[in-house]
């Protein structure tokens, strides 16, 4: 599988994503500076976490307008897999590639900790290596992860099975107490309708290494590698 990681001013999980992709898929990703308009031909485009443009104004708002994102939009429309993690998820919503928005956490605080996620299905390309209903442990680290969509949009997202992950307790129960940031429906990650674009607030690349107290994130990259060749 060939992949690319888009780097914006203020991205700070770009190297983490690079390391995870290189180690797990066996091929180092191409790092693409946000000003570039010529994206390499790849099977997966990753939009990494961080604070693009300082998260000033709104998280992801300024990055969504960068030249590289115009290309990402085209590729996504052509069916290329796009993964947005954390700030990447925020950028994808701001760019209109995913519905909804990520608002300030209900606590108003930045939160960095492991959370449990219930995998809502095991569709290709992102979650093939997970089981539907499986509970995984993945870290979050964000101040703006409170997923919101208007009632109609939310109905559509739920109705079309676009929810990929929900915050849950260790037993897989989706409860208010297990919701770290106030997200509607405990939504932690969603897909687009076609299923080739996925955004999620938790960081799978952070628990993909045996030395780092968990490897539940690894299966996402293994699954991608398998699904995308």
């Amino acid at each position: 599988m060939k992949s690319a990681v888009i780097v914006f001013p203020g991205s700070n999980c770009d190297r983490d994503m690079q390391v995870a992709l290189a180690r797990i898929t066996g091929t180092p990703p191409v790092m693409v500076w946000h000003r570039e308009t010529d994206l390499p031909r790849v099977d997966l485009i990753a939009v990494p976490g961080g604070f693009s443009y300082g998260d000033y104004l709104r998280s992801g708002a300024m990055a969504a307008h960068s030249p590289a994102m115009t290309e990402v939009r085209k590729r996504a429309a052509a069916g290329v897999a796009v993964l947005g993690v954390c700030n990447g998820f925020q950028i994808l919503t701001e760019a209109g590639l995913l519905p909804g928005v990520l608002m300030r956490n209900a606590s108003l605080r930045f939160i960095c900790r492991d959370v449990y996620l219930r995998v809502e299905d095991s569709r290709a390309p992102f979650t093939t290596r997970y089981r539907t209903g499986q509970v995984i442990r993945i870290p979050i680290a964000h101040a703006d992860g409170n997923f919101f969509a208007d009632a109609e949009t939310l109905k559509r997202i739920e109705g079309e099975g676009q929810v990929a992950f929900r915050y849950c307790d260790p037993n897989g129960e989706v409860t208010a107490a297990a919701n770290p940031n106030g997200s509607l429906g405990n939504i932690a990650g969603i897909r687009n309708r076609a299923g080739n674009v996925l955004g999620m607030m938790p960081h799978p690349e952070r628990l993909a290494d045996q030395l780092l107290s968990g490897i539940d994130g690894r299966a996402m990259f293994e699954g991608l590698s398998e699904a995308l060749g």
Partner: protein, 735 residues
């Protein structure tokens, strides 16, 4: 100068914090009356903050060398060799006064400043730490300060993408009017690619990069050197706003430029901005410098030379480039959307000449200004010796387990999760041991080795007996590194004290330094960088003496380390080190009896070293499954922390000859560790052979913590007490 330049009256001199004698020396050096810009420059260069005029004499006593020290104190940060051609670059710095005035921005810019000290030397920052001391929880300002400082540290560190992995935090009424915010950054560089500040090469371009210069923080350095009084509010506009986004770009741009062969010297603009950075570079290189102030990128119109030279705008760098490398540098900084300007050149005059609008705005000799900087040998009065408390004279609690629960739910001992949850402690995906252990462990990227990092200081010990307190702070940091299996290498210190013009304060300072010195020598643990913050005093009342120690250790093989949680049921728990039941200055005395008296526990540096070396050997050999050092709170608190971290209980039995139960449980004797192992008696016999006191105390297992003779408490109940206090205190919503 503009026509409106103020006359240099005695009041103006005084407002610049210069004494009459100091001003006489200014006149002598200048050979004429200085203009206002020149006076401003003298004022910041000779401030306590920049000149270390009260502390220099004492700092010289600190041991600063070892075969692995590449660069000791005197540069932006200390540098040590960590093998494989790599160096670790680290330093700690205070931002106490600004954080008290504006907690969010004060703490945030503190983090920004220390990050710059480290990446200026060519290192990529890989970890941040912080040491915080707040006033009493019931003081009306405390909650707001805690909320703001923690959010500010997180806000800055999270945005730049450097994990904040460890720190310390406590509460005491002594900090009601002067909180302490000490921030530390650890970076990694190639050992053969360290960048220094000394300028050289007459004619070489002097380059400015980063953010534009505004009117922020003018006189911040003198503010940090002035005691607070109730007019502190009037000094408010001296607080700066941090821009972590720009800092992130600056890190990337500087590291990118450093990979080119372009930089001769580089210096961040910290306190006293362009003034101290340019003086430092020229002074260290023994050259002169000419700067055209009209070329300095400014944020506002009409800034005077005085304002430009004294501005403390953040996120700025000054560099001397190799001739002809300006274009490469410009391209890199422009790619990262940062300001870049060639503002001057080096000269052979030994003078600093500043030009503005075609005229000379200031002309000062560099060496005399630095060399003639005042140095004071301030009088010292020793701290009265506290009486040693007899443990038998300290009342026992109604229930030892109840006392444990009280301690664990107290402000100083409860979980700090609420704090580190707000810090991104995982970005860079090398955080092997997250916050909450004895030391955090950060992998050296791309290797199987790691750095262990910690900050420590017990201000109660330092207040009661500064020399013991200073030694203990070093010993505790050494012990915390040892407890994770690391080889302690070096420290940075952040000396936070009251007004040095008072002999009692100077006495505390001198004695703390003496204690640090002895511990560093005994433990082969040199000081490679540091910072002094004096005048932490409000209305004549100083803080507890607080020499914060930040320490670095190396783990050669990350698969051979330990951590705090019990790993399995049925393992033996072994206590290493001698237990006398010392309760003077203890947490038990403070939290349960409201008393702060007695002498701190003695620090036996030879025992400290022997015990630690033994424990580390056992960890590296694989015999130890969990390890926790014993510090304030004593044995039972440490055992409870091991239990809570794992959810697994334990049963402990005091050995024959142990002191009274409460003294055994809560005594704070130094140089001790609790370890778990499959075969306790074997470990004890190895210890005996090495002459190390060791006893099997009990076994892991069950869901309760039991101390024979004292009772039983469930780990779940302990954990509720432990995790509850801080979130409840901080409440929800807006901090």
């Amino acid at each position: 100068m503009t026509a409106a330049a103020p006359a240099i009256t005695p009041d103006v001199v005084k407002a610049h914090g210069l004494s009459a004698e100091e001003y006489a020396r200014v006149l002598e050096i200048m050979g004429r009356e200085p203009n206002i810009t020149e006076l401003g420059i003298f004022s910041v260069m000779w401030s306590e903050h920049c000149s270390y005029k009260s502390s220099r004499k004492w700092l010289r006593r600190l041991p600063t060398t070892a075969p692995w020290v590449i660069c000791g104190p005197g540069e932006n940060a200390g540098v040590i060799d960590i093998g494989d051609g790599l160096a670790c670059v680290f330093k700690m710095e205070s931002h106490n006064h600004p954080s008290f005035i504006e907690p969010y921005q004060g703490a945030a810019t503190g983090v920004g400043g220390i990050l710059r000290d480290v990446f200026t030397m060519g290192a990529r920052p890989i970890a941040n730490l912080n040491a915080l001391h707040f006033g009493a929880p019931d003081h009306p300002k405390t909650r707001h300060l805690v909320g703001g400082v923690v959010a500010g540290i997180g806000g800055y560190g999270n945005c730049v993408g450097v994990p904040t992995v460890a720190g310390s935090c406590d509460f005491d009424p002594g900090y009601n009017g002067n909180i302490l915010v000490n921030a530390m950054t650890v970076g990694i560089a190639r050992a053969d690619r360290i960048f220094y500040a000394a300028a050289s090469g007459i004619g070489n371009p002097v380059v400015y990069a980063g953010s534009k210069t505004g009117r922020d923080g003018i006189h911040g350095a003198t503010m940090a050197s002035a005691e607070f009084d109730d007019t502190a509010e009037a000094r408010r506009p001296t607080v700066q706003v941090g821009d972590p986004f720009t800092e992130k770009l600056l890190i990337e741009a500087c590291l990118e430029l450093m990979a080119e062969d372009a930089i001769i010297a580089i210096q961040d603009m910290g306190a006293a901005g362009l003034t101290s950075s340019s003086f430092e570079m020229a002074g260290k290189g023994g050259v002169g410098v000419e700067i055209d102030l009209d070329r300095v990128p400014v944020r506002e119109d009409g800034m005077t030379p005085y304002e430009i030279m004294l501005s403390e705008s953040q996120e700025r760098m000054l560099m001397v480039l190799k001739p002809g490398r300006e274009d490469i540098a410009r391209r890199i900084f422009e790619k990262w959307e940062l300001d870049f300007a060639v503002i001057g050149r080096l000269t052979d005059t030994g003078r600093m000449v500043l030009k503005a609008r075609g005229a000379v705005a200031a002309d000062l000799p560099i060496a005399p200004l630095s060399e003639a900087a005042p140095v004071y040998d301030r009088p010292t009065t020793p701290t009265p010796r506290p009486a040693v408390l007899d443990a038998a004279a300290v009342p026992a609690p109604a229930s030892v387990m109840g006392a444990l629960e009280t301690l664990l739910s107290s402000p100083d001992f409860c979980s700090r999760r609420w704090i580190w949850d707000q810090y991104d402690h995982m970005v860079m995906t090398d955080t092997v041991e997250r916050p909450g252990g004895d030391a955090a462990v950060v992998r050296i990227h791309g290797t199987g080795r790691g750095l262990a990092v910690t900050t420590d200081c017990n201000p109660h010990y330092c207040g009661a007996h500064p020399k013991t307190g200073g030694a203990q702070a070093v010993a505790e940091s050494w012990r915390n590194l040892t407890a994770v299996g690391a080889r302690p290498l070096a420290i940075t210190d952040n000396m936070n004290f009251g007004n040095p013009e008072r002999p009692e304060i100077m006495g505390q300072f001198a004695d703390c330094i003496e204690g640090i010195r002895e511990a560093c020598l005994a433990l082969d643990f040199p000081v490679v960088s540091g910072n002094v913050s004096f005048y932490n005093e409000t209305n004549g009342k100083g803080i507890l003496p607080t020499p914060t120690i930040g320490a670095i250790g190396l783990i050669d093989d990350l698969s051979r380390r330990t951590s705090v949680p019990f790993k399995a049921a049925g393992e033996d728990i072994v206590l290493i080190g001698a237990t006398m039941g010392h309760l003077g200055c203890s947490a038990y005395l403070r939290e349960l009896h409201g008393r702060r008296d007695g002498a701190p526990p003695p620090v036996d540096l030879a025992a400290e070293r022997a015990n630690g070396d033994f424990v580390r050997g056992e960890i590296v050999s694989g015999a130890v499954t969990a390890c926790h050092d014993l510090s304030d709170g004593g044995l039972l608190v440490a055992a409870a922390e091991m239990a809570m971290a794992s959810g697994l209980g334990a049963t402990l039995t005091p050995p024959p000859g142990a002191p009274a139960l409460h003294a055994f449980a809560f005594g704070e004797d130094q140089g001790r560790y609790l370890v778990t192992t499959a075969d306790g008696p074997a470990l004890v016999s190895r210890a005996e052979k090495a002459g190390i006191p060791a006893t099997v105390l009990g076994r892991t297992g069950g869901a309760e913590l039991t101390l024979k003779g004292a009772g039983t408490i469930s780990v779940v109940q302990l954990k509720a007490a432990f995790e509850g206090w801080l979130p409840a205190y901080m409440g929800d919503g807006v901090a």
